[in-house]
Symmetry: C2
Subunit: 205 residues, 2 copies
């Protein structure tokens, strides 16, 4: 994971490319295949990709601008999730609930074809397909993950309160999200994740 | 002004067109030339447009989705500012400081060519040109207004905390913003607004 952080307090131009390149960003991080252990149901398929491409094979990258720390500040950035398949399961980001769980998040698709997979600890679920020009306003309390169901990078512009934070553990503690996004002929569908043990209400509180 | 409001609490697909059309919006409002009295320096030019086009002539429209009221909620929408000139001054939105003044706002340009004019009560100022793919993260405490410096509608995608509110009065009380965006040959520039009386710190507090 590569980190580079700085804080600015003036209005700053952001140049946002459909590729996810972000001029004006203050931080970039990358997730590689070696950091995705246990994320995909088909562990053998994950290991095969790891062996073939090496642990540093890029899965997704995030460029973001966080200009200040105050309660009203917004973090704005791009997420670029490369295409991939692990058995029938499409490439995903780790997914998260916000640490301050009522914080919403905008995802606006810049390029590619993806799904925002959304679940609550109460058992609600939703899967929203995103292509360029489509967006989703992810409400507070919804655990969410990007899934690339296309052949090109799936790139989104995101925006959320800078104080929101990310709770990644809630998904790992539950044995993964309740649903998986898998191939269905030329398209995609969701199926139950047999390893899912239920979300703990404590983690979501 | 046309209002239509509803509240939803589920993740909802938004379809955002470069024209500013927003499928999934919960509210739309419009500002017409008859509602822009006192906004432009050249009052005679404003009156001439009013006489020629009628008070209902559209200046800008906003489509937005506000799905819930909580502190973490985000309002997401599009602003479409039509091209226009009043003497040398370009068409503008009313402009505002957020009622909760530390709330930031994302503006991402979808089409056209515009300027985000930004000022603080402390005397800082900035003007950021926006064309498709460019964006600005407007920090808290910055009074801001969209200006259309092109020949086509200037359309932005915006995102801000749903509790932010808008303080429009701070600009009117000051005799307008400190700067005007005016034509400069084929381009634009900013000049001091001779009617500006200074922002009151009380209004910005």
């Amino acid at each position: 994971m590569t980190h580079h952080t700085q804080i600015v307090d003036e209005p700053t131009l952001l140049e946002i490319a459909a590729s996810g390149a972000l001029e004006g960003s203050t931080r970039r991080y990358e997730k590689h295949i070696g950091e995705m252990a246990g994320v995909y149901l088909d562990d053998a398929a994950w290991r095969a990709t790891l062996a073939e491409n090496g642990a540093d094979h890029l899965v997704y990258s995030v460029n973001e601008q966080k200009y200040q720390e105050g309660p009203g500040a917004l973090t704005i950035g791009t997420s670029t999730l490369l295409p991939g398949r692990y058995g029938s399961e499409f490439a995903v980001t780790r997914g998260h609930l916000h640490q301050i769980s009522d914080r919403a998040e905008l995802y606006y698709c810049l390029s590619g074809k993806g799904v925002m997979l959304l679940e609550t600890a109460d058992g609600d679920c939703s899967a929203v397909e995103l292509t360029p020009g489509k967006a989703v306003n992810v409400p507070g309390q919804w655990i969410h993950r990007s899934v690339n169901v296309g052949d090109e990078p799936f790139v989104t512009l995101f925006c959320y309160a800078a104080d929101a934070g990310q709770n990644y553990g809630i998904i790992g503690d539950a044995g993964g999200m309740k649903h998986l996004v898998v191939s269905d002929g030329d398209g995609w569908t969701t199926i139950p994740n047999p390893r899912h043990r239920g979300y703990t209400r404590e983690a979501a509180a």
